[in-house]
């Protein structure tokens, strides 16, 4: 009898087997030649979105001879991505972001010094619209199927200022309402790289802010995108560990990304240099009140990545509130994608994303959940035959019973 209890205790002590499985990688961005450079970059890392059974991926490459933005679609569970469609119309375009919109997708990007927006769906493109009159960059988007919001950094004199705008869709014409600053006080230093998440109560926003003499992350919320709550600092500040070092203002943080479950849960992830000897680490924080307040800063990566810098963090939250972070780091020699997910108030061991690991560089991930809890992941990796392209894989979480 005693032996039986011991065996049961041993069994219960084993960790529940819970893991992600990913389908083989599919190419997204088509075949490109030598000298074509492909980038998956946007404020908040919003390069992939899901609307119903359609997936849209946006990126920038120079296949036309200059950097331009592109979109490709995948419909249903089978088949590949459509041929790329160019979105931008200017001399140079960068950092496209995508979000679901009624009947298709909303896209925002930087083009020749301004932020532009456009509706896109398989076989259909809306007109290109400039989102504001002032010099702007670093656009990001968030939507919940009905509401669409954009944010970007707008030049005001010598400084950049984060603004948020409600987007409306009239047929296939996507338009930005008047953009409003998140902080009513004109910036004394740059506000950069915003990220948005929509909640049941409104819109949550986070951004990089240099007003304190080093980069901090700030957050705010708004019910209507017009009036914002007082700002809150997101990242904990850690001074130098060397008390003799009397210089500088603080450690570095950068490239915050937000995601939500559409209800009250908002998760943030960012690169944080508080342990500065190993470069940036991946930190996260979770809000369960729609982004008004966040819990303590949590280190999302495990200790095996500590002696390497981590880059390009993205985050996704499922409709049931599951929080997943992904980034790239070169702990195995070359950059690979690493995934971690939150279990209670802790983070899992880092999982190498199988189709995005191995020889060559697999980097710059972005991801989004669909309504069924499947995770749609994109990244830049080697193209067969040379060069690089955007790749896609869909993952599913499996929590096996004990």
């Amino acid at each position: 009898m005693r032996l039986g209890w011991a065996a049961l205790l041993c069994l219960l002590a084993l960790p529940a087997h819970a893991d992600w499985s990913f389908a083989p990688a599919r190419p997204v961005s088509g075949q490109t030649g030598k000298g074509v450079f492909t980038h998956l970059e946007s404020a908040g890392r919003k390069s992939v979105a899901v609307a119903g059974d359609s997936v849209a991926v946006v990126w920038e490459d120079n296949r036309s001879g200059s950097p331009q933005t592109y979109i490709a679609f995948r419909r249903g569970d089978k088949g590949g991505f459509s041929a790329p469609t160019q979105l931008s119309t200017g001399k140079e375009a960068y950092e496209p972001a995508v979000a679901a919109a009624p009947g298709g997708f909303a896209v925002a990007w930087e083009q020749d010094g301004y932020v532009w927006i456009r509706f896109a769906a398989p076989g259909r493109l809306g007109p290109v619209e400039r989102a504001g009159r002032a010099e702007s960059s670093q656009a990001t988007l968030a939507s919940d199927g009905g509401r669409i919001f954009a944010a970007w950094a707008r030049r005001e004199g010598r400084r950049m200022r984060v603004v948020v705008a409600h987007l409306t869709l009239d047929g296939e014409r996507l338009q930005a309402k008047r953009a409003r600053p998140v902080d009513p006080v004109p910036p004394s230093q740059d506000q950069l790289y915003p990220s948005l998440a929509l909640t049941a109560d409104g819109v949550a926003v986070a951004w990089e802010d240099r007003r304190e003499g080093h980069t901090r992350l700030y957050t705010s919320v708004s019910r209507d995108g017009l009036n914002f709550a007082p700002l809150r600092a997101l990242n904990a500040v850690h001074g130098s560990r060397d008390p003799s070092l009397r210089f500088g203002r603080g450690t570095g943080v950068t490239r915050v990304a937000l995601a939500s479950d559409g209800k009250q849960r908002v998760a943030a992830v960012w690169m944080d240099k508080r342990e500065f000897m190993g470069g940036y680490d991946i930190y996260a924080a979770v809000s369960d009140d729609g982004g008004r307040t966040y819990g303590p800063n949590e280190k999302a990566q495990d200790m095996f990545g500590d002696n390497q810098p981590q880059w390009h963090p993205a985050i996704a939250v499922s409709a049931t509130g599951q929080v997943v972070a992904v980034w790239d780091d070169p702990r195995d020699g070359t950059p690979d994608l690493w995934l971690s997910w939150r279990t209670g108030s802790e983070w899992s061991d880092d999982l190498a994303v199988k189709p995005a690991s191995g020889a060559g560089s697999q980097a710059s991930p972005a991801m989004a959940f669909d309504a069924k809890g499947r995770l749609h992941l994109v990244w830049v990796g080697p193209a067969r035959g040379g060069g690089e392209r955007v790749w896609y894989s869909r993952g599913r979480f499996r929590a096996a019973p004990r």
């Binding site: 450079f37 950069l192 990089e208 080093h214 500088g248 203002r249 500065f276």
Partner: protein
């Protein structure tokens, strides 16, 4: 008192602004640092190597290096004469063009070079090829040694470790 003295208020404001900017890590004063693209252009035109300073806004070790090392006049003369000086903000979204023609942000350059911490000092050939990089605070002596290693072409026949162990 402050209300009755607008000149004093203005002076204090200027002093506060000065102290605020003095703590911010930026290129050291008196050095002709340029951005990456301009530096690459100058290096190729002048057949000079590039000294690349990866800094970060608010970086303490960068500020310490600026104040205690780059303030040395002889070092300033040496590096201004021998190199094209390039400053990169490791958290910046400003774009630069690599020798390959690829357009990336300053921060992405740090990711490509796997820059751990700031400051990082890198020495590049005039075509942008990396010779070596050295992270962390450095003294005047460190930079003088690095200069001999690079400027005299010793890097072509010795590793930096070999050179520093036997600088003759």
């Amino acid at each position: 008192m402050l209300n009755s003295s607008p000149w004093l208020r203005a002076a204090l404001l200027v002093a506060a602004l000065f102290s605020a900017t003095a703590a911010v890590a930026e290129p050291p004063e008196g050095y002709p640092f340029v951005n990456y693209g301009e530096g690459l252009r100058q290096a190729q035109a002048q057949h000079k190597k590039i000294f690349l300073y990866f800094g970060r806004f608010g970086c303490g070790w960068c500020a310490k290096t600026n104040k205690e090392t780059f303030s040395n006049k002889a070092l300033r003369k040496l590096y201004t004469e021998h190199y094209v000086l390039v400053y990169v903000d490791a958290e910046s979204g400003k774009r630069l063009t690599l020798p390959s023609g690829e357009r990336i942000t300053e921060m992405e350059l740090g990711a490509r070079l796997n820059v751990f911490a700031t400051p990082v000092f890198a020495y590049l050939e005039s075509d942008g090829k990396l010779i070596f990089k050295a992270p962390g605070y450095k003294t005047v002596k460190d930079f003088e040694d690095f200069d001999r290693y690079v400027y005299q072409g010793i890097y072509k026949r010795k590793t930096l470790t070999q050179f520093l162990a036997d600088p003759s």
